[in-house]
Amino acid sequence: MAKYYWNEYQKTIADDKYFYERSCIRQTFFPGSETAFLRIVREELGKDIYDEMNQHTCTGIGYHADVVPLETTMTVVARLFSLMKDAGYTNYVPSCVTSFGVFSEMVEIWNHQPETLEKTRDYLRKATGREFDIPLNLVHPSDIIYKYRFELKDKMKYALVNRFTGKPLQVVEHIGCHYAKIFPEKGVGKAEFPHVLAGMIEAWGGEVVDYPERRHCCGFGFRHYLLQSNRGYSIANTKKKFESMEPFEPDFIVANCPGCTMFMDKWQYTIAEMEHKTYDKDGYGIPVLTYEEMAGLLLGYNPWELGLQLHQVQSEILLDKIGIPYDPKEKYKAADGRILPKPERPNNLLV
């Protein structure tokens, strides 16, 4: 019964005309993902999505680390919404799960407290002279890929199938906590059985790994990570998840949150350095992809243009399993054609 519980709840996802807001950390750590998302929406799905150049932080990390006050966050969020109003859009699509949570929270507060909404309008007017509207539809980009997963499947060149064995790839899906744990009704399948990534994996030929710590936090946790002395708590959470998924021998992990992708990727290096432990059989680690990278790979996009070489855990073994061709010589080729120096090798994690 639990397997089909998500069917009971679906959220409203707008069909077209999206206003896109980028993430602060994704562009640094997974720079190909957002470009891939825009390409998929525009070229594969033929939808209108606006990429605003004057956008800025939502204050998410500062807000959750208690260094940015609530009123400031509300005003900054209001300014972002004012950019959407100026561009003539009503469907807001923030790239980051933290931003998605922050926006959902601010809209919820404004809906419950009209006087706070008026106060925010006043703050924004005084600070910038701008006006804003609350979005009619607020969705995460993974919702849009989920909505059009079958349309995308028809255009895909590859499937999540191991070409050597013919069996579906075993995929761990990890949903960012702020996607549906704050406001369950904002997530496809709510908080307990979010289907947003599982739906993509199943539609594209893979098999979802249902392991005991599937819904556990990735270990980011904002304040738990920001201070170096506290990072032992952060990595302990990630380790707990890896230990739980290890017996299922996953082929890769896919996440829809910038923090989760980053931490589950980079902490594998840290754990390997600290404890000489990797969670795959051969010592290469488990590749961690964003959902745009997963979709882009299956659509036949160049893995190096998607930025897979910038991940800590390298994905050549996964590419070989799916049968995606790649040129090792182009791995560190810059956009202007220069060959960049190879990164330093970790001591214990094989690359």
Binding site: I235, A236, M274
Partner: protein, 112 residues
């Protein structure tokens, strides 16, 4: 090992399969009010022994309830059975009787 300036914290997990919960049930039969505790700590705050030693009724109660008996028998000896904890308990737990019975049950369990 590379020095990152922090270590991986050990997850504190209690394996209930390895705990002998029979002692908890025995105590519950002897002192039914034992399970009414809300861990407020009023008992420890008023405890005379706690003023001068590490004796902590709230801690002992929590450890016992989770089936973690290591070292409890020795710690329980610090109680002077004055009964002040029983007087202040907002949930009416018979703490004096609880301590006496904990001593008895653990003594018999360790004798075997």
């Amino acid at each position: 090992m590379s020095n990152f300036g922090f270590n991986i914290s050990n997850t504190r997990v209690i394996s209930m399969d390895e705990c002998n919960m029979g002692n908890v049930e025995r105590l519950h039969l002897e002192v039914p009010s034992f399970k009414r505790c809300i861990s407020c700590g009023a008992c420890s705050a008023t405890c005379s022994a706690h003023q001068f030693t590490d004796f902590n009724i709230r801690k002992l109660h929590n450890l016992y309830r989770r089936g973690q008996y290591a070292g409890l028998q020795e710690e329980l000896k610090a109680c002077m059975l004055c009964g002040k904890c029983t007087l202040v308990c907002p949930r009416g737990v018979n703490l004096r009787s609880m301590i006496i019975n904990m001593r008895k049950i653990l003594y018999e369990a360790n004798k075997r």
